[in-house]
C-alpha cells in the first residue's frame, strides 16, 4: 500500500485537537436545588478548578477520533494492489491518462478475417473498446498515425463521448505511419500525476526506435489489429510506382514507367493490364520474386491518351494498391505549371534544356519584346545572353536566371576577358546536386565581380562563374559563361544544372501523382491568391496562399507553399488557382495512388513487440501502476462513523423528549 497524496496525512493534526477539546474542563452542567444549605455543609471543599483534565474515554471521543483518522487517511489517498479491485469492483481506480496510437496508414486498409474486415476498422473497434472503461477523471488521447498525425483529447465524460463519436465517424487518413513521431508526441502530451499508458493499435507494419521508446515515459502495449499477430505474412502485390514523360524522340508519344512489387512470402506471376482512357492498351504477365521482388514495366503510350491505369488483375490483401493511375496528358495541357519566359534571340541548348523539363510552361521571346518582361505574370524569366534595357530591369518582379549576361548589364564586371577554369566549387550546394563539372571547358568570359550579398557557387581565378544574386529583391542566378561557347551543353551536367536552377527559382509544379496519404506540397504561381482542391469525393477545400519563410532557401527568398493533406482517398484530385479577385488562373489535376513500397508491405515488424516492450515508466508514475485508490472506501467508513457519533449525540435528546412525553401523560 502506498499513499498517493501523503500531504493528506497533515489532517491527522485534528486528532490531538479533538483530544484537547475533550480534555477541556468545561463548565459542568448546572442543576437547580431548593437550597444550598445542606450541600454547602456537605461539600466543604469546592471542586478543583483545572483547565484541562485527563482525556475522558467516552464513546463520542472514540468515534470522533476514528472519523478524523479515517478522513485523514482518505485525504492521503492510500492505494493498494489492483488485486483488491477484483474483490471490490466498485473501487475507484487511479485516474489515468491513456494515449492510443492508432495506425491510420495505408496498410491498415488491408482486409483480413472472415467476414473480411479492414485492419483500420478492427483498430478502430479496439480503440473504442479501450475508451469504454474510462471514467470521469480519466484522460484519453487518440493520436491517429498517418502522414499528418491527428490528435484528439478527452478530459471529461462529455468530451469522451465526443471522442468516441468522432472516432466512429473517422475515415482512414492513409499515408505512412510514423510511430517514432507519435511516441515522441505522446510523451509530450502526458499530463502529470496521472497513471500513464500507451496503447499502440497497429497492423505491426511500422518501425520504432528503441531510444524513442525508452523516452516515452509510460508502458507501451502493442495491440495487433486485423488478426495479423500470428506471424503469417499476407500476400500482397502492388503497383508501387508509375511515371510518364514525353518520348525524347519528340513524336508525341509518351513513355510510361510502372513498377510492380510482390510483398508476399512466395514468388508469384500476376497479370498486369494497362488501360488508356478506360480501354485496355496493354497487358503483361509479370513474375515477381517473393518478399519485395519488383519488376519494371515500360510502355509507350499512344499520343492523346489522357489517363492511364496500371492494374493488377489479381485480388490480394490490400486491394487499394493493385492499381495506379496517371494523367500523362496533364503535363501538356496543364495551365498552372510554372511559367518560364525565355528571353533569347537565338534559342539553343538552354532552350532545349528548359523545354525538356517536366511540369513547366516555357515561352520564348526575343530581346526586342521588352513588354513581355515588363508585363510580368511569369514565375521565372531566363535571359539568354541578353539583358533588358536599364529602364526595364526595375520592372522585373520575379526570379530570374541570367546566362552570359552582357557587359554593362545589371551585373558588375571588371575589365578583361578570360578563358576561365573552375577553381572553386561550393560543395553541397543544391544547384550542383548531380552536376559533374569535371572536364568542362569554358569560352571567353567577362570577369564578373560579386556584389554585397552575392554568393558564389562556382568560381575561377578571374571571377565567379555561377553565383546567386538578387534583382529587385528577387532571387537571381547568374551563369557568367556562355554555354554555347563551352562544352557544357554537350555534357549531362548541363540539363541537370538547368533543372536544379529552375527548381530553385521557379515554384514547384503540381506533381502528377501523390502517394496515398502523402501531403500535396507545391508552390503556387506568383499571381495566385487562393487554391481550391477538389477531392475524388467532390469535396472542395479552399486553401489561402500565404507566404512562409523557407529556412532552407536564401534569407531573402519567400516561399509560398500550399500543403494539402487530405489525400487519404485514391483517385484524381483537381487543383485550381485564383487571383485576389477570384478569377481562375488555371487548373490541374493530380493522382493519388495507394501503392507504396512501405505501406504495401504488410509484413509485420517482428521486432516491434520486443522494442515496445522495452518501454519503462518514469519514476513519478511507476509506483502508481496497477493501483486502486481506497479513499472512497475510507470516506464511506468515516461517514458511517460520523453518523454513529450523531446518533450517540442525539440519543439523550430523544430520551429526554420521551421522558417528558411520559411525564406529561402521567
Amino acid at each position: 500500500m502506498s499513499l498517493l497524496a501523503p500531504l493528506g496525512l497533515a489532517a491527522l493534526i485534528a486528532v490531538p485537537l479533538i483530544i484537547v477539546l475533550h480534555m477541556r474542563h468545561i463548565t459542568p452542567p448546572r442543576r437547580p436545588v431548593p437550597s444550598l444549605r445542606f450541600w454547602e455543609a456537605a461539600n466543604p471543599r469546592p471542586a478543583e478548578e483545572r483547565r484541562l483534565r485527563r482525556p475522558p474515554l467516552t464513546l463520542p471521543l472514540v468515534l470522533q477520533l476514528m472519523a478524523a483518522m479515517l478522513l485523514a487517511f482518505a485525504l492521503a489517498r492510500p492505494a493498494t494492489a489492483a488485486q483488491l479491485a477484483a474483490l471490490a469492483p466498485g473501487l475507484h481506480a487511479e485516474p489515468r491518462h491513456l494515449i492510443l496510437l492508432l495506425d491510420g496508414s495505408t496498410s491498415m486498409s488491408a482486409l483480413a478475417g472472415s467476414p473480411p474486415l479492414s485492419r483500420w476498422e478492427a483498430a478502430r473497434q479496439e480503440a473504442l473498446a479501450r475508451l469504454a472503461p474510462l471514467r470521469e477523471g480519466d484522460v484519453a488521447t487518440v493520436i491517429v498515425m498517418a502522414t499528418r498525425p491527428q490528435t484528439y483529447t478527452a478530459t471529461d465524460d462529455a468530451s469522451l463521448i465526443d471522442l468516441r463519436e468522432r472516432l466512429t465517424m473517422m475515415p482512414q487518413p492513409g499515408g505512412r505511419a510514423d510511430l517514432d513521431a507519435a511516441l515522441t508526441l505522446a510523451g509530450d502530451l502526458f499530463l502529470p500525476n496521472l497513471e500513464r499508458q500507451i496503447v499502440v493499435i497497429s497492423d505491426g507494419a511500422v518501425t520504432a526506435d528503441a531510444a524513442v521508446v525508452g523516452r516515452a515515459g509510460a508502458p507501451i502495449e502493442l495491440v495487433m489489429a486485423g488478426g495479423n499477430g500470428n506471424g503469417s505474412q499476407p500476400a500482397n502485390v502492388a503497383v508501387t510506382d508509375i511515371a510518364a514523360r514525353p518520348d525524347p524522340d519528340g513524336n508525341g508519344t509518351i513513355g510510361l514507367y510502372a513498377a510492380v512489387t510482390n510483398f508476399g512470402p512466395q514468388a508469384v506471376t500476376v497479370p498486369v493490364t494497362l488501360l488508356g482512357d478506360g480501354l485496355e492498351i496493354g497487358h503483361s504477365d509479370v513474375t515477381l520474386d517473393a518478399a519485395g521482388g519488383s519488376s519494371p514495366l515500360n510502355w509507350i503510350l499512344p499520343p492523346g491518351v489522357a489517363d492511364v491505369t496500371v492494374r493488377i488483375d489479381q485480388s490480394d490483401a490490400l486491394v487499394a494498391d493493385n492499381s495506379a493511375m496517371l494523367l500523362p496528358g496533364e503535363a501538356a495541357t496543364e495551365t498552372i505549371a510554372p511559367r518560364i519566359l525565355l528571353v533569347s534571340d537565338l534559342p539553343g541548348a538552354l532552350a532545349r534544356a528548359l523545354m525538356a523539363l517536366d511540369n513547366v510552361q516555357v515561352s520564348i521571346e526575343s530581346s526586342d519584346n521588352t513588354s513581355a518582361v515588363a508585363a510580368g505574370g511569369y514565375d521565372l524569366i531566363v535571359f539568354d545572353r541578353t539583358a533588358p534595357p536599364t529602364e526595364i530591369v526595375p520592372k522585373i518582379e520575379t526570379a530570374s536566371l541570367w546566362v552570359a549576361p552582357p557587359v554593362g548589364g545589371p551585373f558588375a564586371t571588371s575589365e578583361g576577358v578570360s578563358d576561365p577554369k573552375v577553381t572553386r566549387v561550393r560543395a553541397g550546394d543544391p544547384l550542383l546536386e548531380g552536376v559533374d563539372l569535371s572536364g568542362v571547358t569554358f569560352g571567353p568570359t567577362p570577369n564578373f565581380t560579386l556584389a554585397a550579398g552575392d554568393e558564389e557557387i562556382v568560381g575561377s581565378a578571374d571571377g565567379p562563374l555561377l553565383y546567386r544574386s538578387e534583382v529587385n529583391g528577387q532571387p537571381a542566378v547568374v551563369l557568367t559563361t556562355d554555354p554555347e561557347a563551352s562544352n557544357l551543353p554537350k555534357r549531362v551536367a548541363f540539363p541537370v544544372l538547368v533543372a536544379n536552377i529552375v527548381g530553385a527559382l521557379a515554384p514547384d509544379g503540381i506533381p502528377a501523382a501523390v502517394p496515398l496519404g502523402e501531403p500535396l506540397v507545391y508552390e503556387p504561381r506568383a499571381a495566385t491568391a487562393s487554391v481550391q482542391v477538389t477531392a475524388p469525393s467532390g469535396e472542395v477545400t479552399s486553401l489561402p496562399v500565404s507566404a512562409t519563410s523557407d529556412q532552407t532557401a536564401a534569407p531573402t527568398s519567400v516561399s509560398r507553399q500550399i500543403i494539402y493533406t487530405d489525400t487519404g482517398s485514391a483517385g484524381v484530385y483537381g487543383v485550381s488557382e485564383a487571383d485576389e479577385s477570384g478569377f481562375e488562373l488555371g487548373a490541374a489535376r493530380f493522382v493519388v495512388n495507394a501503392g507504396h513500397p512501405r505501406e504495401s508491405d504488410l509484413q509485420v515488424n517482428a521486432n516491434l513487440g520486443a522494442t515496445l516492450a522495452t518501454s519503462v515508466s518514469s519514476g513519478a508514475v511507476a509506483t502508481r501502476q496497477n493501483r486502486v485508490d481506497l479513499w472512497p472506501v475510507l470516506a464511506l467508513i468515516a461517514l458511517g462513523v460520523i453518523a454513529a457519533e450523531w446518533i450517540t449525540a442525539l440519543r439523550p435528546a430523544r430520551r429526554r423528549r420521551a421522558l417528558q412525553t411520559s411525564g406529561a401523560s402521567s
Binding site: 459542568p28 448546572r30 437550597s35 456537605a42 469546592p46 421522558l659 417528558q660
Partner: protein, 345 residues
C-alpha cells in the same frame, strides 16, 4: 387578578394591613398552570366525607359543624344536670321530673364554626422537583392546601389561605361556605412560586394580626431559616392558643439517600457526570461540587438531622407534624397520614 381584586371585593382587602403591597406570588402570567387540575372529582368525593379535627382550637362565632364545649339550646342533647337557680326553667325535662321526682335541666350541645388559616409557602424553593415527571413541591403543596380548604369549606368553616415568601401576600378569604370551593381552588391554581422565604417573621406577622386563634395549617418545605426560629414561632402560636399543624412538603430526592444519589450523579438523560454546579432556587448562589459518595453521605446526614430537629421542635411545642412527600398520592397516603396525625377525621 380576579382573586386579589375582584372575586371577593376590594372592600374586604382594603383593610388588610399586615400584607405588604409588593411582590405578589400570584404571577401575572397565570396561563402556565391553567390546565392543572389540583383535585379531581374522585378526590373531592372522598374529601367530602372528612372533616377537620379542632383539637384544642377554639370554636367560635356562628353555628357551625364543630362541637363546642359550651352548652346551648341546640336540638343536640348533651347531658342532664340538676336544676339550680338561674337556669332556664324552659329547659327543665318534665318527663324526668315525673319519673324521678326531681328537677333536671336538659343540656344541649352547641356546634360552632372553625377558623382555618392556611399559610402556604410560595417561595422559589418550592418550585422544584427531583424528577422531571414528578410534580413540584409547590404543586403538591397547592393540592394539599386545596384538599384541606375543601374539607374546611365543606364543613362550613371559615377559611383563609395566605401565601407567603419573603412576606405575606394577598390572602384568599376569609371565606365560608361550599360556594367558595371553586374560587379557592382557582386561586390556588393561579399561584406562582416566587422569591425567597422568611418563615418566622411571616408567621408571626400573620398571627399577630388575628384577634382570635384558630387552626393554623403551615405548609412549607421549611428550608429557610433555622429550626430555632421555627420553634419560637410555634411556641408563640401555642401561647396564643393556636392549634398548629405543620405540613412539611418534601421531595424524595431531598431526603432519601438513594434518590438523592441518583439525582446528583445523573442528569435528566441518565448520563453520568463528574462535576456539576448547584444553583440555589431562591438566592441564585452557585456551588460547584464533585458528587462523590462522601458528599452524598454528608448531605443525607445533614438533611436527616434537620428533619429530626423540625419534628422535635413541633413535638415540643405541641404542633402536629406531618411530612408529606411529593411522591405520595393525595387520596391515599397523604390523607392517611393526616388522619393518623389527627388533622382530619
Amino acid at each position: 387578578m380576579s382573586v386579589a381584586g375582584g372575586g371577593f371585593g376590594s372592600a374586604r382587602l382594603r383593610g388588610w394591613r399586615p400584607f405588604r403591597s409588593g411582590a405578589s406570588p400570584v404571577a401575572e402570567d397565570a396561563s402556565a398552570d391553567d390546565g392543572l387540575v389540583l383535585l379531581d372529582e374522585q378526590t373531592l368525593a372522598r374529601l367530602r366525607r372528612l372533616s377537620l379535627l379542632t383539637g384544642r382550637a377554639r370554636t367560635e362565632g356562628l353555628a357551625g359543624e364543630h362541637r363546642s364545649r359550651r352548652r346551648g339550646t341546640s336540638p343536640e342533647f348533651a347531658d342532664f344536670k340538676r336544676y339550680s337557680q338561674g337556669d332556664d326553667f324552659r329547659r327543665i325535662d318534665w318527663n324526668t321530673y315525673a319519673r324521678l321526682d326531681g328537677l333536671f335541666v336538659r343540656l344541649s350541645e352547641v356546634t360552632t364554626e372553625l377558623s382555618v388559616h392556611i399559610l402556604l409557602d410560595s417561595s422559589a424553593s418550592m418550585d422544584w422537583s427531583g424528577r422531571p415527571q414528578r410534580m413540584t413541591k409547590f404543586t403538591a403543596a397547592r393540592r394539599l392546601t386545596g384538599a384541606l380548604a375543601y374539607v374546611a369549606l365543606w364543613g362550613f368553616d371559615r377559611v383563609t389561605i395566605t401565601p407567603f415568601s419573603t412576606s405575606l401576600s394577598y390572602p384568599f378569604g376569609p371565606v365560608q361556605g361550599r360556594t367558595q370551593v371553586v374560587p379557592a381552588l382557582r386561586y390556588l391554581q393561579q399561584l406562582r412560586p416566587l422569591g425567597g422565604t422568611i418563615l418566622a417573621p411571616a408567621v408571626a406577622a400573620y398571627v399577630h394580626g388575628k384577634k382570635r386563634p384558630g387552626l393554623l395549617l403551615l405548609i412549607s418545605d421549611f428550608l429557610a431559616g433555622e429550626t430555632d426560629a421555627l420553634r419560637v414561632v410555634l411556641h408563640d402560636l401555642r401561647a396564643r392558643g393556636w392549634q398548629t399543624v405543620v405540613l412539611h412538603v418534601v421531595d424524595d430526592a431531598e431526603i432519601a439517600p438513594d434518590a438523592a444519589t441518583a439525582w446528583l450523579r445523573h442528569d435528566d438523560e441518565g448520563m453520568s457526570r463528574q462535576s456539576l454546579e448547584l444553583v440555589d432556587r431562591e438566592s441564585g448562589a452557585i456551588l460547584r461540587l464533585a458528587p462523590d459518595d462522601d458528599v452524598v453521605t454528608r448531605y443525607v446526614a445533614a438533611v436527616n438531622a434537620w428533619l429530626d430537629e423540625i419534628e422535635t421542635a413541633c413535638a415540643t411545642e405541641g404542633a402536629t407534624y406531618a411530612r408529606v412527600p411529593t411522591s405520595w398520592d393525595l387520596d391515599d397516603l397523604t390523607l392517611a397520614l393526616l388522619h393518623e396525625r389527627g388533622v382530619v377525621a
